[in-house]
C-alpha cells in the first residue's frame, strides 16, 4: 500500500488556499447527478450532509438512531476552540496551531492542524448565525473560557452543553435540507459493510434495526462519520451504542487504520462504584478552570476532606507544573492521578480517586458564579453520587474518552480506498497522540462544514464512474455475507451473553492497553484477546429473532469487531517503542516520569493494513515532517 498524504506545496499559511484552487469543481447543475452516502449524523456527519445538500448533491444519510439529534456529539460539554483573540490575550491562528501540534506530542500532520486552526474561526461564525446560544458577556459579545494545554482563553461554550447546542445547530441545518429534499435520512440503520466496485467505494450494506431487513444502497462516494472506538474498553464515557463496526468493516475491505493505540483517557470522570456499572460519566475539563486537584499528603488517609487541613493537602499538579497548574493537558493530568492512586494517596471507598475542590473558587467568586458556569455538571455529580459538590470536593478518576487513532486519510480526508472519506473522530488526522480539550467539536465541524464539501468534489469531478445497481454481484455478495453472519449468530446457543464477553475484553484492554502500557502486559493482551475471540464464536448466547428489533444481535456484531480491533490496538502499542501523549509505555519515560518520545525512530503515522483475522497486520509508515513546530520534550512546568 502506498500512502500519499497529498499535502500541498508551499508555505503552511497558503497550503489550504493552494489546495482549494487546485481541486476540481463539479458544475452546479451536475451536482445532483452525484449521490453521496454519509454514515453517522453527529457533528461531522450532520454538518457534512447539510453542507453537501445545500451545494446540490444528492445525499443519503444513515444513523442507528431514530433521530439525527441523538448522536453522541450531543454529550460534549465544555466547549469549542477558535483563536478569535476576543480575550485580547495574544491568541492567533498560529498559536492554536502550535498548541495543538505540541499538545498532540508531535504525532500529527502540521498541514492538517494548521488548516484546522484556520477554519475554526469560521465555525464560530457559522454556529452563531444558526442561533447557537453561546455564553455572552454583559455587552452582548461572546464569552470565552480556558481549557487544558493552552495559556489563552479561546474556548466558546454554551453552559456545560456545548456539544448539544452545536449538534442541534447542525441538526437544524440538516432538517432544512431534509425538508428541501436534497438529503434523505434513513433512521435505525447500522452500516455493516462497505461495497467496492473496481476498487472504488460505491455503496453500503446495512441492517434496518427496527425490522431486521438487510438493505443495500449505492452511491458515488461514501463518507464515514461514525465516531471513535473507545467502547472497546467496555467502560468509557462513550454512549452505549457508539461502536467501531463501520470503520472496522471498512478496514477489512482495505482502508488503512492509523495509530489505533492512541486513546485518550480523560482525567475528570466520576469514579467507578460497582460491577453493575454500564458506563462512566465525564465531568467537563472546564471544571479545572476553577477546581483545584489534590490528595492528602498522608497515605491512605481516611479523614473526610473537610477535616484535612490546608498544609496536609498536596495540590500535586500546581506543585509539579507551576505554569500550567491544574490546566495541564489531559494525558498528563490522567497519568499523574493514576500515579497518586497507585502510590496509595487515592481517596474514596476504592482509593481510586482524587479530589477536585471548588471551595476556594466559591469563596472568591461566590456560589452564583460557579452555579452559572457549571450548574448542570454539579447537578449531574450530585445525582449520581448523592454528594453535594457545593459543600465538599468532587471525587474524580480518569476514564477512556476519545480515540485519536482512526482510519488513515490524506489531506483531502480520503481514505486509502478511492471514494471513501472519513471525517470527525473516525479519522486519525489532527490530534496526534493526545487531543486537547475543546478540539473534538472543532475538528468534527471543520471537516463537515468547511473541508469535505470542497475536497469531495475533486474526486467526483475527476473520476470515471461505471453505472452500478444494488442488484449487481458486488452488492449481492456483500449482502449474502452479512446475511450469513446474522444466521450464524442466531444459531449460536452458548452459555455466555454478549455483555459478558464485552466486559471481559474491556478488562483485558484496560489492564494492559490502558493508561500505562508495558511489553509484558501488551504481550499478555495479544495472547488473551484471540483466545476470548475463539470462545466468543463458540460460546456466545443470542436470543430473539433476526427479523425484529434485537439489541442482543446488534451488540453481538459490535463486540465481534471489538474482539479484532482490540488485538490491533495492542499490536500497535507494542510496536511503538516510545511514549507519546496518551500512549505511555512504562519502559520509556523521563526521570520526572513524563512521556519520552523517540523521534528518530517513531516520528511517523503507523497505518496498518488488514491481512486476515488473527494474522499480523502489515505496517505502512507515513513519515511526519516538522518544518514549523520543532519537536521538543513537552514541558508544562
Amino acid at each position: 500500500m502506498k500512502l500519499n498524504a497529498k499535502i500541498p506545496q508551499g508555505q503552511i499559511e497558503k497550503k489550504w488556499d493552494t489546495d482549494r484552487f487546485q481541486l476540481k469543481l463539479v458544475n452546479p447543475s451536475n451536482k445532483r447527478k452525484y449521490t453521496i452516502i454519509i454514515i453517522g449524523t453527529g457533528l461531522a456527519g450532520a454538518s457534512a450532509a447539510s453542507s453537501l445538500g445545500e451545494l446540490g448533491y444528492n445525499v443519503l444519510t444513515f444513523s442507528y438512531h431514530e433521530s439525527p439529534r441523538r448522536a453522541h456529539s450531543i454529550a460534549a460539554q465544555g466547549g469549542i476552540n477558535a483563536p478569535k483573540n476576543y480575550s485580547n490575550d495574544g491568541d492567533s491562528i498560529w498559536r492554536l496551531f502550535y498548541d495543538t501540534v505540541k499538545g498532540g506530542d508531535y504525532r500529527s500532520r502540521e498541514a492538517n492542524v494548521y488548516r484546522l486552526s484556520q477554519v475554526s474561526n469560521n465555525i464560530i461564525d457559522q454556529c452563531v448565525a444558526q442561533g447557537v446560544p453561546f455564553a455572552r458577556d454583559y455587552a452582548g459579545y461572546l464569552d470565552n473560557r480556558s481549557f487544558g494545554g493552552a495559556q489563552v482563553s479561546r474556548t466558546f461554550y454554551a453552559r456545560g452543553q456545548t456539544g448539544q447546542q452545536l449538534l442541534l445547530g447542525a441538526y437544524s441545518a440538516l432538517g432544512r435540507q431534509l425538508k428541501a429534499g436534497s438529503v434523505k435520512f434513513f433512521p435505525r440503520r447500522e452500516m455493516l459493510d462497505l461495497v467496492l466496485d473496481d476498487g472504488q467505494a460505491r455503496g453500503i450494506i446495512c441492517r434496518n434495526l427496527a425490522t431486521g431487513e438487510i438493505e443495500a444502497y449505492e452511491g458515488h462516494a461514501v463518507v464515514l462519520a461514525t465516531g471513535g472506538y473507545g467502547n472497546v474498553f467496555y467502560l468509557s464515557t462513550n454512549a452505549k451504542a457508539s461502536n467501531a463496526t463501520a470503520i472496522w468493516r471498512a478496514y477489512k475491505k482495505g482502508a488503512a487504520f492509523a495509530n489505533p493505540c492512541f486513546t485518550q483517557i480523560h482525567p475528570t470522570c466520576i469514579p467507578q462504584s460497582g460491577d453493575y456499572q454500564s458506563k462512566l460519566t465525564l465531568m467537563s475539563e472546564s471544571l479545572r478552570n476553577d477546581g483545584r486537584i489534590w490528595v492528602p499528603k498522608k497515605k491512605e488517609d481516611t479523614r473526610k476532606p473537610q477535616e484535612i487541613p490546608e498544609e496536609e493537602r498536596d495540590y500535586y499538579l500546581e506543585r509539579m507544573y507551576p505554569s500550567f497548574g491544574n490546566l495541564v493537558p489531559r494525558d498528563v493530568a490522567s497519568r499523574r492521578a493514576k500515579e497518586m492512586c497507585d502510590n496509595g494517596f487515592g481517596v474514596g471507598a476504592t482509593g481510586r480517586a482524587v479530589y477536585l475542590d471548588f471551595a476556594d473558587s466559591i469563596k472568591r467568586l461566590g456560589r452564583h458564579v460557579i452555579e452559572e458556569r457549571y450548574g448542570n455538571l454539579f447537578d449531574m455529580y450530585h445525582e449520581i453520587t448523592a454528594e453535594d459538590p457545593y459543600k465538599g470536593p468532587m471525587r474524580i478518576y480518569p476514564a477512556v474518552h476519545y480515540t485519536m487513532g482512526g482510519l488513515w486519510v490524506d489531506y483531502n480526508l480520503m481514505s486509502t480506498i478511492p471514494g471513501m472519506y472519513v471525517i470527525g473522530e473516525a479519522n486519525f488526522s489532527d490530534h496526534g497522540a493526545n487531543r486537547l480539550g475543546a478540539s473534538a467539536l472543532m475538528q468534527g465541524l471543520a471537516d463537515g462544514y468547511f473541508i469535505l464539501p470542497y475536497t469531495i468534489g475533486d474526486y467526483l469531478a475527476s473520476t470515471k464512474f461505471k453505472a452500478v445497481k444494488t442488484e449487481d454481484a458486488a452488492f449481492k455478495e456483500a449482502q449474502s455475507a452479512i446475511d450469513g453472519m446474522v444466521k450464524k449468530f442466531m444459531s449460536m446457543n452458548g452459555k455466555k451473553t454478549v455483555e459478558e464477553f464485552h466486559r471481559e475484553l474491556g478488562k483485558i484492554m484496560w489492564e494492559n492497553v490502558g493508561m500505562g502500557r508495558n511489553r509484558g502486559g501488551l504481550k499478555k493482551a495479544l495472547a488473551e484477546i484471540p483466545k476470548l475471540r475463539t470462545e466468543f464464536w463458540q460460546n456466545v448466547k443470542l436470543v430473539g429473532g433476526a427479523h425484529e428489533l434485537n439489541s442482543e444481535l446488534e451488540r453481538a456484531g459490535r463486540v465481534a469487531d471489538y474482539l479484532e480491533l482490540g488485538e490491533l490496538m495492542a499490536h500497535d502499542a507494542l510496536h511503538r517503542e516510545e511514549s507519546c501523549g496518551g500512549h505511555f509505555r512504562e519502559e520509556h519515560q523521563t526521570e520526572e516520569g513524563e512521556a519520552k518520545r523517540n523521534d528518530a525512530k517513531f516520528s511517523y503515522v503507523a497505518a496498518w493494513e488488514f491481512r486476515g483475522v488473527g494474522k499480523p497486520p502489515l505496517l505502512n509508515k507515513e513519515r511526519l515532517e516538522f518544518e514549523y513546530v520543532k519537536p521538543t520534550q513537552r514541558s508544562y512546568k
Binding site: A129, P133, A173, K179, G274, S278, K541
Partner: protein, 246 residues
C-alpha cells in the same frame, strides 16, 4: 435491594401488549434504573427469553433517547432527570415498580418500551431552524445578543427532545417541545427574519401529526428532565397569534 417489576411487553406495533411481572434481586442502590434493567436482561438472556427492549444511549441525560413511564410518571419521580439518571436509591427495598412506554397516538410502540418519535423530527423540519447557509454568514461578534436574552434562549434550547412532555400531558400535546424551539429562536436576533413562518409551520405540523392542544395542565413542565418552563408556551401562543393576525 430487591424489587418487583411490572413491565409492558409488546412484540411489535401490531401486537396488543401486556404487563409481565419480574423480580430483580441484589441491586445496588447506587445503580441507575437502566442498569437495573440491564441486570434483568442478562438474566432473561441466560434463560433464553427475549430481553426487554428500551431506548437508551448516552446514559447521562442529554441524548434524549431514553424514556419510560415509571409508576405513572414520565422519567419517574426524579425532578429534572431523564430515566437514565434515575438511581435505584429513590426506591424502597421490596417496591413494585411499573414500567411502560410513552403513550400517545403520534408515538406508536415499536417494541416493549421503545416508541417511534419521528413525529418530533418532522415538526423540527417544518421550521425549527434558521436558514443560514454554510459560509454565507457574518463575523460572530457582529451580532451582539444581550446576556439575559442569550440566557433565556439557552434555557429553551436545553430541550433534549425526549417527548416526556407529550407522555405526561393528558392531551398528548407537544406544545412544550414546540415552544422550546420557537422561543429559543424568537429571543435571538438571528431568528427574526423567519420568526412568523416558523411559529405557523411548526404548529401546523404539530397538529398534522395528531398531537393534542394545551389546556394548561403543566404536567409537561413538572416532568421535563431539563425543567423547561411553561412560560415558553405562553411565548409560543403570542408568536403564533401575532403571526396569524399579520
Amino acid at each position: 435491594m430487591n424489587v418487583r417489576l411490572k413491565i409492558w411487553r409488546q412484540k411489535s406495533r401490531k401486537d396488543e401488549g401486556r404487563f409481565v411481572d419480574y423480580e430483580v434481586k441484589n441491586v445496588s442502590p447506587d445503580a441507575s434504573f437502566l442498569e437495573m434493567l440491564d441486570i434483568l436482561n442478562v438474566e432473561l438472556v441466560k434463560k433464553g427469553e427475549d430481553p426487554v427492549a428500551f431506548d437508551h444511549d448516552c446514559r447521562e441525560g442529554i441524548c434524549g433517547s431514553c424514556g419510560i413511564v415509571i409508576n405513572g410518571r414520565a422519567h419517574g419521580s426524579g425532578r429534572g432527570t431523564a430515566t437514565c439518571e434515575l438511581r435505584m436509591r429513590l426506591f424502597q427495598d421490596g417496591d413494585t415498580i411499573v414500567a411502560e412506554p410513552w403513550r400517545a397516538k403520534p408515538f406508536p410502540v415499536i417494541k416493549d418500551l421503545v416508541v417511534d418519535r419521528t413525529a418530533l423530527d418532522r415538526i423540527m423540519q417544518a421550521g425549527g431552524y434558521i436558514s443560514a447557509k454554510t459560509g454565507a454568514i457574518p463575523e460572530a461578534n457582529s451580532i451582539p445578543v444581550p446576556k439575559p436574552l442569550a440566557e433565556e434562549a439557552m434555557d429553551a434550547a436545553a430541550c433534549i427532545g425526549c417527548g416526556a412532555c407529550v407522555a405526561a400531558c393528558p392531551n398528548s400535546s407537544a406544545m412544550l417541545f414546540v415552544a422550546a424551539k420557537v422561543s429559543h429562536f424568537a429571543l435571538l436576533p438571528q431568528g427574526e427574519p423567519e420568526r412568523k413562518e416558523r411559529a405557523l409551520r411548526m404548529v401546523e405540523q404539530m397538529d398534522k401529526e395528531g398531537f393534542g392542544n394545551c389546556s394548561n395542565n403543566y404536567a409537561c413542565e413538572a416532568e421535563c428532565p431539563k425543567k423547561i418552563s411553561v412560560v415558553h408556551i405562553a411565548r409560543l401562543n403570542r408568536e403564533f397569534i401575532k403571526a396569524e393576525l399579520e
